[in-house]
Symmetry: C2
Subunit: 353 residues, 2 copies
Amino acid sequence: REIVLLPGDGIGQEIMESAKSVLNTVAANFGHQFIFHEHAIGGTAIDQYQTPLPETTIKACKGSDAVLLGAVGGEKWDSLPGDQRPEKGLLGIRKALDLFANLRPIKGFAPLLHASPLKQEIIEGSDILIIRELTGGLYFGEPKSRVEDGNAAVDTLYYSRQEMERIIDKSFQTAQKRRKKLTSVDKANVLESSRLWREIVEEKSKSYPDVEVNHLLVDAAAMKLITQPNQFDVIVTENLFGDILSDEASVLTGSLGMLPSASIRTDGVGLYEPVHGSAPDIAGLGIANPLGMILSTALMLRQSFDMQEEADEIEKAVQETLDQGYHTPDLSIKDGIKVGTKEMTDTVIGNLS
Amino acid sequence: REIVLLPGDGIGQEIMESAKSVLNTVAANFGHQFIFHEHAIGGTAIDQYQTPLPETTIKACKGSDAVLLGAVGGEKWDSLPGDQRPEKGLLGIRKALDLFANLRPIKGFAPLLHASPLKQEIIEGSDILIIRELTGGLYFGEPKSRVEDGNAAVDTLYYSRQEMERIIDKSFQTAQKRRKKLTSVDKANVLESSRLWREIVEEKSKSYPDVEVNHLLVDAAAMKLITQPNQFDVIVTENLFGDILSDEASVLTGSLGMLPSASIRTDGVGLYEPVHGSAPDIAGLGIANPLGMILSTALMLRQSFDMQEEADEIEKAVQETLDQGYHTPDLSIKDGIKVGTKEMTDTVIGNLS
Ligand SMILES: CC(C)[C@H](C(=O)O)[C@@H](O)C(=O)O
Ligand SMILES: CC(C)[C@H](C(=O)O)[C@@H](O)C(=O)O
């Protein structure tokens, strides 16, 4: 299997080392071969190649079976014009690989749940998967420009039926493998695109009679994520709503540093990255939390390579490591043992049977 | 002063009675004259006049000094086509009166804070005012339609510089009267309209040197509202982001039934309504919580009539009523006294000095 590694900026490099070590151990244990190809993206690519997404990176990703991404961005590049900023690399690679579905699982770990901003009884038992459409909507619709001599600006929310259908199908299929509850989020009382979205969800639901569907307006969803997070199973929504809701949801368990994410294509090829950012303030100090990155490799094995057992192993090893009390400085565990990136990674690897 | 009353649907009628009683008492105490004109809106208007916003209602509102709205909507009208639904009445009246600024104060009451989904130490001390632009953006931009033979849909996010300037000015001025901290929320890394927005905020900030401004991306704002709500003072943002964030914020204190809102125009005329909905399930039972509506009248006195003392009186009377333990069934107070709409209103009135 060919895996492209894009460490990116800030702590990206350090946590990517952790991912590699974990994958090498899994490869040895299960007799797989993972071939890694490292390429530049984000600010690091800007510094080296004057673009956040070099052609060689795109080409390598296109030829690979999966991509692992560390993180992109940092103050250093914040003053560059819009199309030369690190995030453009991320948006560009999503588009280039046609990664249309962003999967964001939100599930807490018992030893860490005390850090949730929510009361224990509210967050407990929550296990949400947010599926965000990633290639359409306001992010890419044209026109997107200044108009009227610069005295107005316009962005365009455009979705084709086909773009909606594939993400909605994906969501029904994903719900079938989970608790069979799908919440479709839109703003159908205001947006025409949401009304088409809702029609398609209704149409599609006939093909998945075992999945219970309900519709929620995006404003109501933003409320319910806080008041009743454990009422959700799978949530599906368009690009921008998904951006807002998945970030909102990411803080609910109190340990954002643990969350992985996947951005996948119809054929299973995908890009996997932790939800947290590049944390330039702690880059190079050896204290970054590698668990979000490590759990992203598990998600990769599960989604792109259909290696369920291998993915389970990694997730169990992480769970065990926390149960043993090991944590990086961003986390806190009662009577726990504070460790750095390297020791954390080694402990997880030690827990891989 | 001429005040138009739009009770609307569900519990709207009952809580509007409470508003009237409170205002009559204030009028008597302070020697004011409030003249009320009642008109139809929402589902009730659909039933009577086949439109959620009759011309006579618009005309009356245009001729008034302020408008009080109960609530609109209900399952009964949910299957009507988009442009004949109760919410259209609300969107229509905002447009007709040019109510460009929606003010949503979020502040808890000590006896009720225990009901917050957030941990006490997180929500305590929070006092946020969200200012949402109300007449532009994705809600109204054209084209908004099906395209490509119905195989795609498009909505348009359009803002003129002038629309942005007036809401941003309003926000700086409002922040000056509070703790002088303004958070501007946008999605400038993706949207052209957000980039124009951010430029204007920067420009305007020169005219308000006493206000500390910072920019936050909408996804980050959705997170920070949960993790550090007490770090905010005034938040300003465009229409749809404001819709999502203000609803998200409305559940933080745990008593949404208490929250008022204002939608105002440059000359001070405004529409005031509680944040909660029409609650058709409890309509007519005499148990609806009138406090959100009553606090909306206080907001009206403050914003549209510049009656600060009178507004203070009402807010203090509500505070006192809760301190005495009185609450409607939607709220809970330790060792409290559960009462209905009428008794709650009478108690508040009794507490008006
Ligand atoms: C960096 C930014 C463009 C991006 C997005 O909005 O999609 C980010 O917020 C994310 O969610 O991955
Ligand atoms: C009813 C709906 C159109 C409205 C909106 O989105 O503006 C509502 O959610 C609100 O916030 O007042």
